[in-house]
């Protein structure tokens, strides 16, 4: 309890406090009132980061929750090969974020990487792009890599959800003459609502905090095209040593995370969800 207080609760309060101060690592911490907050609301870089963060969250949701639902229902099936597939799907979760970032970096490397090689030698020229080096593509590429890493996890959620649906519901639907499409819309989807809420919350709260992949692969670039809030915070804090203002950005991240979790939980009447753990990996 003391450990937890010392390294989670006190820092949370402390981050809030620092957001009202000026502090570069060498100097003293001085109270500056709302100056950082005023700066945040008029800072074009922070605005841009906020937009990129929301884009990343939205795209990540599209790239993760629907595919994970499809795959979760798929692996909940009883055929043996599906269990084998399910076991292989989980392998990305074993790789560290640093490891898989390096893997993807070289896989996507222009000219020599695996995709570029196919582009050149199999004449699939659309594969030979600077996936991480072009401002138009970098964010999209990051979204795909994040999906590669986390969809397996969300698949587990939907697999459990699908398995918990009683078979009688499908029997009843088919007695009523429902076809596959109808039984999906009227049985599967409504029954999976808790899984959908859990998965969506974890994706959205998690994407507020995506940092490792972006730090390793693009450092927020090219330009500012992948500079999400967490990257902005790191850069302002640890590169420019403006820890006061960086704490303001950090507080915004934390606030958005908690707000999002509360809104999603309340709006769906879902009592006991847990959010925000994706950052751990």
């Amino acid at each position: 309890m003391a450990l937890y207080g010392a390294f989670i609760i006190i820092p949370t309060a402390f981050a809030l406090f620092l957001s009202f101060t000026h502090w570069d690592i060498d100097g003293p911490i001085t109270w500056v009132g709302l100056a950082n907050w005023r700066e945040f609301f008029s800072d074009p870089v922070a605005h841009h980061s906020l937009v990129v963060t929301f884009e990343l969250a939205g795209l990540s949701w599209l790239a993760q929750t629907p595919p994970a639902m499809a795959l979760g229902i798929f692996v909940a099936g009883t055929q043996r090969y599906r269990a084998v597939y399910a076991a292989i799907y989980l392998v990305p979760l074993l790789l560290s974020t640093a490891g898989l970032s390096l893997m993807w970096e070289d896989f996507l490397f222009p000219q020599y990487g695996g995709l570029a090689w196919l582009g050149i030698h199999a004449h699939l020229h659309f594969l030979s792009k600077t996936w991480l080096g072009s401002p138009d593509l970098a964010l999209f590429t990051i979204v795909v890599i994040i999906a590669w890493q986390f969809v397996p996890f969300h698949t587990l959620i939907f697999q459990a959800g699908r398995r918990a649906i009683p078979a009688e519901l499908y029997d009843a639907a088919s007695v009523d003459g429902a076809n596959l499409r109808q039984s999906f819309w009227h049985v599967t989807l409504p029954q999976l609502r808790y899984s959908i809420v859990t998965s969506s919350t974890l994706v959205l709260v998690g994407s507020l905090a995506y940092f490792d992949i972006i730090y390793i692969l693009t450092q927020g670039g090219p330009g500012d095209s992948t500079r999400v809030l967490a990257m902005d915070m790191y850069s302002v804090g640890f590169n420019q040593t403006e820890f006061g203002y960086a704490s303001t950005i950090a507080t915004v991240i934390g606030f958005l995370g908690i707000l999002l979790a509360i809104v999603l939980v309340r709006s769906t009447g879902f009592g006991s969800m847990e959010g925000g753990q994706e950052g751990i990996w």
Binding site: A63, I73, T97, D106, G114, L180, A209, Y234, F238, Q277
Partner: protein, 309 residues
């Protein structure tokens, strides 16, 4: 932005759109079983698409790790033709601090597991069996902590670890990591311990067992499955964490594997030596892969545990 990104002509992107579409139709087929061969085939295609997407970069990485730097530039990138060599794996140990990083990561993982397991066991037992106001409030606070992204508090963590002289130390890293993993571990523990029937406690009491002996003779043995899950959860979290070591350590003696491989890959000497970088990554996953093959059920729970209610 959403529209352009989705429309971008990318293989994975198209696959994902196909998946999203199939999600509304193809997979229902898992829903009503044995209805139609066409629908089952569609589900098979969907599953196989994702399988290829998952395995392609991994396969590529493993293959490249067996290439020499010269062959990397010239040989087929997808087929194991031409020369394969173990030279990257030996180069990795000769030239870099990877061995040290590996040992540090192992220490970090073991230390974190021990701290998280002991504390979550103690906290869980207290919350479930000796519920006081304090422990109920503590439990709430711990659950609240789950919603706080660690990214939001790294600056205070940097400051505090400096102040109490545990910055850039292994045990400092263990303590902070453990604190970040404890909320979920306690939640798992509490949910599990609540399942122990009251009668068993009563039986222990009838036999004259005190709280301590109840703890060691009943709670600990009963909790063994959840202890395995918590160990894997926290071990995985410690082995793979990048952000906390990045913020809280500095010297080469305290570098852990994720950070070490990143620095390794961006060093002047190895930035262009892709096979060695790939070998380091493969090497870093091996212990987990072996554990995963042996303890798949516990792994799945360890990974997915916190999404279960």
């Amino acid at each position: 932005m959403v529209a352009t990104a989705v429309r971008a002509p990318d293989r994975a992107g198209r696959r994902r759109r196909a998946l999203a579409k199939a999600g509304s139709r193809g997979t229902t087929l898992g829903g009503i079983r044995g209805r139609s061969k066409v629908s089952r085939f569609a589900a098979f295609l969907l599953g196989t698409f994702w399988l290829v997407f998952v395995l392609a970069p991994i396969y590529y990485m493993v293959l490249i790790s067996f290439r020499s730097p010269a062959e990397y530039l010239t040989a087929n990138a997808w087929l194991p033709t031409g020369g394969l060599t173990l030279s990257s794996y030996s180069a990795m140990f000769e030239s870099a601090g990877i061995g040290t990083d590996f040992r540090n990561s192992a220490e970090l993982a073991v230390g974190t597991i021990v701290v998280v397991v002991l504390l979550s066991l103690a906290a869980g037992y207290r919350i479930v069996r000796h519920g006081s106001r304090f422990s109920a409030v503590s439990f709430r606070v711990i659950l609240f902590g789950i919603a706080i992204p660690i990214q939001a508090i790294v600056i205070p963590l940097y400051f505090i670890t400096n102040k109490i002289y545990i910055y850039d130390t292994m045990y400092g890293l263990v303590l902070v990591l453990a604190a970040s993993l404890i909320p979920v571990a306690v939640l798992l523990m509490v949910n599990y311990l609540r399942l122990i029937p009251r009668q068993l406690y009563d039986a222990m009491a009838v036999d004259g067992a005190g709280p301590w002996s109840t703890f060691t003779h009943l709670v600990v043995p009963m909790a063994r499955p959840v202890l395995a899950v918590i160990s894997i959860y926290s071990g995985l979290g410690a082995w793979n964490n990048f952000l906390l070591p990045l913020i809280l350590t500095q010297s080469n003696n305290d570098t852990v594997l994720p950070l070490g491989m990143y620095r390794f890959a961006s060093s002047d000497q190895y930035a262009l030596n892709v096979p060695v970088v790939m070998a380091v990554v493969v090497f870093s996953v091996l212990p987990l892969l072996i554990l995963y093959l042996g303890l798949r059920r516990q792994f799945v729970k360890g990974i997915g545990g916190f999404a279960l209610r």
